[in-house]
Amino acid sequence: MSEVIVITSGKGGVGKTTTSANLGAALASLGKSVVLIDADIGLRNLDVVMGLENRIVYHLVDVVEGYCRLNQALIKDKRFDNLCLLPAAQTKDKTAVTPDQMRQLCKELKAEFDFVLVDSPAGIEQGFKNAIAGADTAIIVATPEVSSVRDADRIIGLLEAESMPPPRLICNRIRPAMVRRGDMLGISDILDILAIELLGVVPDDESIVVSTNRGEPAALSQGSRAGVAFRNIARRVLGEDVPFMNLDETNGFLGRLKRMFGSTR
């Protein structure tokens, strides 16, 4: 059974694109066929995060305007044959596509892939409405900040108004040491406020910056803690019951030393 999942947040810069790329790569590594749609028309980014920016010929707007066939615009991933990207247009804006066209597009892709992941733009205007139009379910990405959680709450309300099923939450960029000190909203605080199901917790991890620099999703590198978190999320999306990561793993003697000397993290 195929599924169209939109990854959204309201607020910009919380990790929607990183989450889309990593969830896509992780699902593909688990053997599922996946297509990623970059719905951020005018601000295309998923291609660079995936390291596929040099392969783009056609884009989403070309497809909906009939300049090319859908299959011509799909870019195959370097690492997985079962992972594709439908890039956004860089020169158009959000109004170049309508919700009806997105619905049709998602329907066609759903027939060919196990998962269609839609990377939503920030905001709640047309771009957001396009992104959610064809989606069966939504994943909300939020960071432990007042502004992000507030926007997430607004998005939950908007999805409800569109009669979508309750979204699931990914808490991104958690810094366990700060949570322990009481200087960062913890998972329980955020869940208290938003009252939605938790899908995953991703620690703030420098390896994300490194992997984005290289255009290789962190979910594919073994040493990355954020990568492990994204692989766990992918397994939960597949219905597996995976326990949430213990974020206090650095509690050993070494970890404590590390925190004492470089105690910013």
Binding site: V146, R150, D183, L185, G186, D189, D192, I193, R259, M260
Partner: protein, 104 residues
């Protein structure tokens, strides 16, 4: 250990995440108190219909709004009454059934 020292020497007042959570709570009380215009109109129509059974009201100068206090939301209605209706209630004097709340 380090945390303990930090807590002893650096901490003043409550942890900042408690401040964040409290501020979020407040801001969401306000955010969530917005009602879609069509829902709001339906509510007003229903209110007028029910109250008009008992009171002759001045619909034009009626004012209904949601007021958010510090941490609560209230529906505040100011409805000028022209006169109290007398005599038997319309519809044979029965109280309105459960269908009253339905939007037109």
């Amino acid at each position: 250990m380090l945390e303990l020292i930090q807590r002893l020497f650096l901490r003043e007042g409550s942890a900042s995440k408690d401040v964040a959570k409290e501020r979020l709570r407040m801001v969401l009380v306000h955010d969530r108190a917005t009602v879609a215009p069509h829902v709001w109109e339906a509510l007003k129509v229903d209110l007028i219909r029910v109250i008009s059974r008992y009171l002759d009201i001045d619909e034009a100068s009626m004012d209904v709004q949601l007021q958010t206090e510090k941490d609560a939301v209230a529906l505040v209605a100011s409805i000028p009454v022209r006169r109290v209706k007398r005599g038997p209630l319309p519809g044979g004097g029965e109280a309105l059934g459960p269908g009253v709340g339905a939007a037109p």
